[in-house]
Amino acid sequence: MTTSDLVLPARGGAAPERRASSVLTDTGNVWLRETLTIVRDPFSLIFSLLQPLIFLGLFGPLLSGFTGGQDLGGTSPLQWFLPGVVVMITMFGTSMTGSNLQYEIMTGAFERILATPLSRPALMIGRALKELTPLVVQGLIICAVAAPFGFVIHPLGILLGLVLLGVFGVGIGALSYSLAIAARKNEWVFWAVQQTLLFPLLILSGMMLPLEAGPGWMRVASQFNPLTYVVEAERALFAGVLADPSVLWGFVAAFVTAAVGLVVGVRTITRSIF
């Protein structure tokens, strides 16, 4: 697991075993603290469910009309489009999560948490996982809602798809925190960078519209976008094709993103002055 791989070397004192297990416990505790805000205010969760449904309900038919009801990549437009929506809500949720951290840095709560013995990777992973908690609920509900309109449910594929998004989301979340910490003195910089990066990444992954119809340079650019591999893997998984090579590449992209995110994140936390 990435969580235990990334334990910083225990300098002095504590035995490595204790530290490794405590990273998991710490991650669980950080996740729990964040998740309690959802549990205490479930209305926010209900509201967040509406957003992807609206997107699916408005964009889906448009896409069908666009393709003249023809199949996309060998599947029905809905089957093709729905995994993209799930990836999109992951991207939105995890890439914005840094702004919560910025607020906690501003008020001083983050300093209090930094003064506790919580492991630094756990601070990142636990928080990012919190953004993924509603995602699981959102993903399942979207699938259930889409089922009557011709979306075929492959439970194992969906489950693996959500695990893949979990790993990827931790990476994006950690990068979002790094950006939030780097921009802690100018909040608007966080939003400017987040927005500037988010949409090109989304479009260049073929998430909303197939890139096959786009110019060559876009197709080339998309090959350098980790999100492309994640989206393709999700399409295969949601279609129930678990053995597709795109699934493997999707997991590679997700784990690389998570590893890069956590390394950058932990370095940013330990080197910044709050």
Partner: protein
């Protein structure tokens, strides 16, 4: 418990460099209660943040609870508690949840954490607020919650950065009762910063006066006041006798202040033992035919100590040596 050598911290670079802490040598023994006293920007918080491993020193070394803050910051964090100057409790969380999670961050079991949280909330006058969102608490309530957060794991060494700021007198008393009990029962070592001179004076055994990033005095409040300030005696005499009176008084102490208020002049002197000196000085003045209209003795405060050390007052706004009960310069 704490040992530092030439601890320094600079912020920024080039022209905008701020030398926040410039060479702090400090030793704190187990069980001590130490107050850092100093004006805004003196470097109190910066020192505390280095001792709690939150901020790496620019140079120098610090051993805290037997652990080097640079080599093993995580080890330091396991052995201490820290209540920072800003809000510790997250605004979007519930009071009870924050307390229980803080306990669990320190490895307490859920039931232990809930139990300790409940007790702390009672003794810090927060009972019944478990389900409130932190953002809805008043300033003083938030501060008390911060204190509870810092105490839940009952650390052997506790740092508090301006713990009582924003609290009313009743709650400040509760806080102190709590801190002193913790110390009596568990022998907790406590290092705190404060702006309340009275608080440093009456509660701390040892006062470390910090100014411009340096320790300029370090002793018990009593010793500091005796050495640095002495008692103040003040006389109000008719303006035409002021020079003669000053001549008499100059032989007995150091003049601190001379103010004219209409037809009278106020003279303030520093003397060894104020209550004993006052009657004698009044008689000495009477011998020279000088009628003293009013006289008073004032025991020194830590503000006098600071004034004597730096030439500046710690009290906000007010002129250096006048207090509200005595004559203000016209």
């Amino acid at each position: 418990m704490i040992h530092t050598e030439a601890l320094t911290r600079t912020f920024g670079s080039g022209k905008d460099t701020v030398e926040a802490v410039r060479g702090v040598d400090l030793d704190v023994a187990e069980g001590e209660l130490v107050a850092f006293l100093g004006p805004n920007g003196a470097g109190k918080s910066t020192t505390l943040r280095m001792l709690t491993s939150l901020l790496p020193p620019t140079s120098g070394t610090a051993l805290v609870a037997g652990t080097d803050v640079v080599a093993d910051p995580a080890g330091v964090r396991r052995r201490i508690g820290y209540i920072g100057q800003k809000d510790g409790a997250g605004h979007s969380y519930r009071v009870g949840d924050e307390l229980v999670m803080q306990g669990r961050f320190y490895g307490l079991s859920k039931s232990e954490s809930v139990e300790r949280g409940r007790r702390l909330m009672t003794s810090l006058d927060l009972a019944g607020m478990e389900n409130r969102k932190v953002s809805t608490l008043s300033g003083g309530q938030k501060r008390r919650l911060d204190i509870a957060l810092g105490l839940i794991h009952e650390p052997p060494l506790l740092f508090l950065d301006e713990p009582s700021t924003g609290m009313d007198p009743q709650n400040r008393a509760n806080l102190w009762e709590h801190i002193l009990r913790l110390r009596a029962e568990r022998g907790t070592t406590i290092v705190l910063t404060t702006h309340y001179l009275e608080e440093a004076d009456t509660m701390a055994e040892r006062v470390v006066v910090i100014d411009h990033g340096r320790i300029i005095a370090d002793d018990t409040a009593e010793a500091l006041k005796a050495e640095q300030a002495g008692d103040h005696v003040w006389f109000s005499v008719p303006a035409e006798d002021a020079d003669a009176a000053a001549q008499v008084l100059d032989g007995h102490g150091e003049q601190l202040e001379r103010t004219t208020a209409g037809a009278t002049v106020g003279l303030r002197y520093r003397v060894g033992h104020g209550t004993r000196a006052l009657p004698r000085l009044v008689l000495a003045l009477a011998d020279r035919g000088i009628g003293v209209a009013e006289a008073s003795v004032r025991r020194p405060t830590l503000d006098d100590v600071f004034l004597n050390l730096t030439g500046r007052s710690l009290r906000e706004g007010g002129p250096a040596l006048t207090t509200s009960t005595e004559g203000q310069p016209a």
